[in-house]
Symmetry: C2
Subunit: 353 residues, 2 copies
């Protein structure tokens, strides 16, 4: 369905539900956004500009939450009186619309419209819950919604990569406490993914093997940083983790994206996510703020080399200290980490249930 | 001189001063540190581990500040009763000592001792001051100290790059409010610098010209993002700035490092720094937190291609909002910026005095 300003909204339910045809009664003016992409010729990366985002609502109370269902006379982003999982276009997108302009990466001051799409995914209508509370059925439904969105968005013209992620906690700048994630359909391959693919290609040239396969095999053989091993997935703190507590989670069968996972892999993924987020919730006196990203291959390139994986990390390094990105990290991309990966892994293993 | 735990300390004075032979009376146990470097084969970057840094002192009051001079019976990191500029080895270094091991970058789980050195530079003995308050003579003395340290550290075995920077403000994680900067002698070329040099080499192959020269020429010709132009230096908000307020400052004569600057260039650099930091101080209701980095060429590679420059940015985007690096930035290195560079430059121009 469409919201009153024209944005798309999609309900995902485990079974058919009534009330999904409720209309958005808010009569919002048409959604507009002032998005632009610019190319940095020194770092060879696109930067997204979105001046309208300065006006985003900030940490609303539950009574004003735009991500709760519409109920009791209150009208939110979701017209239905309840929902399981719902996805809609972000009201304050960093990317919007479609353009046929190509990257003019050779030019020094290149700019183009920030084509692409930013969506919000609400994991539950319960304002007070978190992903770790969802339970296996709902977590699996979230995966199905992400598969659907990735497939739909990848088919749109100009989308180079789809990235799904959850930011959780005020400490990393979350402006909406309601449990939700985001989906970015980038019109470029992200700098991080480009680097991973460059590394994979260099490794393949040198060894004839896949870098992700070899890293996973090395971590499993070493064993000291494993957090959990399953039938289909393995989770470990990487040997050279950048963050105080950081876990990477790979399927044992290399696939490019979420849509390529078979049902048994999807079910175990939900189980791993709930388990790992539960451990992060017990690391400190209060649940750790975190970023959880579903890293998928670009839509058109590198699909044979890339390995779908989950990256989960927290910026919290102790009950009362955060890891900040200051001079060395922000200026030089040279990370310092005060927590040894083996110690982080041992701690996360202890926190299993 | 040496502090009581063996760390080196160096005074920099505009003229000879008494009391520089005062001994450290604290009788500290020998400095030890547990530093390690690990290589990330996916991101092709070294990460620094320093478990002992978890115990750093955090936001001491002026009465307990370890960076104030030793006076009134209180003993600090600086034995003298006063100082102008002083540099000493960091008590909680991320890099320490010398090893002859080479980077085993081809190995998947490569680690080595974190050879290198981390120094602290105090800009003034005045606990309440900031760099913007130093005045031209002191700011120039700071530059001379950085030139000295860069030259000395670059000559040590295994040092691949020297990076000088100042972190300012609790919002970016500063643990010591006393005005000071840091000097990192890395045993590797930083990922950021490696990327800049890759970009420069690709540009040179394509055009036969230097990328930094061309970017500076393009910014000067465009003019809309210039903040200040001088006889020897130019300061602008980059066309694709990542941070809400970000200024890059280049000498008009391309040089690889601070030591290559002639006296007139050093004097104007001090003037530019004081001016730009003053503008950052007036951007918001309270002085903006910032990172200021002096980007220099590696000690042995890329010296002909690289251009010394200063990068200054703040994470503050309005009086009550910060820019956080969440899912897209931390996970994908894909930055969103809510402040257009032309608007940031216009605002910074208005704030000149």
């Amino acid at each position: 369905m469409r919201l009153s300003d024209g944005r798309e909204l999609i309900y995902f339910d485990a079974a058919a539900r009534p009330g999904r045809d409720a209309a958005d009664q808010r009569g919002l003016p048409p959604a507009t956004a002032d998005c632009e992409l610019r190319y940095d010729p020194l770092l060879r990366a696109w930067v997204m500009y979105a001046a309208h985002r300065q006006d985003r609502s900030f940490l609303p109370t539950a009574a004003d939450c735009p991500l709760c269902p519409s109920a009791g006379g209150r009208r939110t982003e979701i017209p239905a009186g309840d929902y399981e999982v719902v996805v809609f276009e972000n009201r304050y997108p960093a990317l919007l619309g479609w353009a046929n302009q190509h990257a003019r990466a050779g030019e020094l001051l290149a700019a183009r419209p920030a084509a692409g799409r930013c969506e919000v995914i609400c994991f539950t209508s319960d304002h007070e819950a978190s992903f770790a509370d969802l339970g296996p059925v709902r977590a699996r439904l979230v995966t199905e919604a992400l598969v659907d969105r990735t497939t739909e968005l990848a088919a749109l013209p100009g989308v180079a990569q789809v990235y799904c992620f959850e930011n959780r906690g005020q400490e990393i700048g979350v402006t909406q406490p309601h449990p939700h994630g985001q989906i970015y359909a980038y019109p470029f391959v992200s700098p991080r993914t480009s680097q991973l693919l460059r590394s994979a290609r260099a490794h393949a040239r040198r060894t004839g093997r896949n870098l992700f396969d070899d890293v996973i095999a090395a971590e499993r053989a070493d064993g000291t940083r494993l957090v959990r091993s399953g039938r289909h997935w393995v989770a470990f703190v990487p040997h050279a983790a950048r963050w105080p507590y950081e876990v990477h989670c790979y399927p044992l069968r290399r696939v490019p994206d979420l849509a390529s996972l078979v049902p048994a892999e999807r079910t175990e993924l939900a189980d791993f996510q709930l388990d790992l987020l539960g451990r992060f919730g017990r690391l400190f006196a209060a649940p750790a703020p975190y970023v959880c990203g579903w890293h998928q291959a670009p839509t058109r390139t590198g699909r044979r080399d890339f390995a779908l994986h989950l990256e989960l990390f927290t910026v919290r390094r102790s009950d009362d200290k955060l890891k900040y990105l200051a001079g060395s990290e922000s200026g030089m991309d040279a990370f310092t980490n005060d927590v040894l990966p083996e110690r982080a892994a041992a701690r996360l293993r202890e926190l299993g249930r």
